[in-house]
């Protein structure tokens, strides 16, 4: 049995979700960690695109910001930001978009804008950045975030980025033709939309995690799929690649980063 943390389990799980031929629109923090781990393990040809305009970037350390020089230096080419959003994202070239959230509801709708009322916010969060159009223009969306009652809520305060709306048909009614959130990967489990109602249900539980623990950390009455798998624990290869990547990153940035901020 290998020794690993739940945070590592989350990164590994997210990395496994991408395929070698995917074209990923990557945000800073956990998505960037997961995508680069995938590239360093099972998906060496994975195409990573950052919204700063860098196409096919292959960073050796994780960037602190979306526009670190490392991303540009290791990219095939770098385009302007209008071109990135117009030709590459809106143009339908991206298969997978990775998003995180401050608040998330059971349909994968995302809030990164405000806690409280928009006009008189309790907490002003950074906002949407690229996310509103990533959520609707990428082929599908993977959401990666730590599972907490504060983040996984019954009602989000503001819909920054569309998930499945209030259920089946909502995306289509808004003229959105992409799949939306198809996977939610946390430090406790994997959730996928119920095929009937599109509510996220638990489909795989990480080793050592209980159903009660998942329920305690979810602000809605969480449901489990009829068949729930146990997530395979990280392999030594995955853990070594992840730890090497994080060590290189820490050395490069000198200070250990938490990587909590998105976009």
């Amino acid at each position: 049995m290998v020794d690993f943390t739940l945070a590592e389990m989350m990164s590994v799980t997210a990395a496994r979700a991408v395929k070698n031929d995917d074209v990923c629109f990557v945000g800073i923090g956990m998505p960037s960690e997961a995508c680069n781990l995938a590239r360093l393990t099972h998906a060496p040809d994975l195409t990573l695109i950052y919204e700063s305009g860098t196409l096919e970037t292959r960073p050796t350390v994780l960037p602190l910001s979306i526009g670190d020089g490392e991303l540009c230096e290791t990219a095939l080419t770098t385009v302007s930001v209008p071109e990135m959003f117009r030709y590459w994202l809106q143009g339908g070239r991206i298969t997978v978009g990775f998003l995180g959230a401050a608040q998330l509801d059971r349909f994968g709708n995302i809030n990164t804008t405000v806690v409280g009322d928009y006009a008189d916010p309790k907490v002003r969060l950074p906002g949407g950045g690229g996310a509103p159009e990533i959520a609707t223009s990428c082929g599908e969306i993977f959401i990666v975030m730590r599972q907490t009652k504060r983040g996984f809520v019954e009602e989000i305060d503001f819909v920054t980025s569309l998930g499945h709306g209030r259920g089946p048909g909502d995306r289509a009614r808004l003229g959105v033709t992409t799949k939306g959130p198809t996977r939610l990967m946390t430090d406790l489990c994997i959730m996928e939309p119920d095929p009937e109602c599109l509510e996220f249900v638990v489909t795989s539980i990480h080793p050592g995690v209980s159903r009660a623990e998942i329920a305690e950390n979810t602000g809605w009455a969480v449901r489990f799929a009829p068949q729930v798998a146990e997530t395979p624990e990280p392999t030594q290869v995955e853990l070594d690649a992840l730890r090497d990547l994080k060590a290189r990153t820490a050395a490069a940035h000198r200070v250990l980063e938490k990587g909590e901020a998105a976009e």
Partner: protein
Amino acid sequence: MRDGDTVAMEGFTHLIPHAAGHEVIRQGRTDLTLVRMTPDIIYDQLIGMGCASRLVFSWGGNPGVGSLHRFRDAVENGWPGPLEYEEHSHAAMANAYDAGAAGLPFAVFRGYRGAELARVNPAIKSITCPYTGEELATVPAIAADVAVVHAQKANARGDVLFEGIVGVQKEAVLGAKRSVVTVEEVVDEFEGVGPNAVILPAWTVGAIAVVPGGAHPSYAHGYYMRDNAFYKMWDTVSRDRDSFTAWIKAHVIGGGPQDFAAHVAA
């Protein structure tokens, strides 16, 4: 730059014109409408010093670190004064800069679908495509009174060369009535530049100021790296009104553009 102007000081993480931002503070400009996709530390400083009455933006965090505390204090508590804001997505602002450079009144794109910003921001509207009937989002073009950007170099004629992550700088300058470009250095002629380099011809640029290190703590590709430690330090300095004000007094009011070269010395 004049009081009350609409100002776009751009640079997408890279080439942020921080030295120029300090000069705006020293000149005591007020009532500015500040336009920037990512307000970053540059606008956090201007907002905290009361230079702005309005902000147009699409992501207001400290990249890789967390919050912009002066921006949050202005929005949540009205300090040092009330700050109105118009909030967009990156796609909307990138398209709006593009429309500004193209001389169009608005930008059209496939966006804001199911996004609540469209409910709270009256500037976001929609149009029906006359060819397909598809409903598309629109936002007003960004045409600033003044654009301020930083670039690697200018040549003796006054042409300006950008390299690396080029963001929306070209669009911001071409869309603005007036422009100022700070540069790392002036060379006689650009050398070793490919035929598709991002160059603003001299006749599109209002003024050039040579400020080595002028993007610090952002970076200039080929010259110096992003000062990530500064971005982390800013989280502490800016959290508190007094420590922020003391920092500005010491480093901005009591400093000048000549200080920036030392910030980036290896």
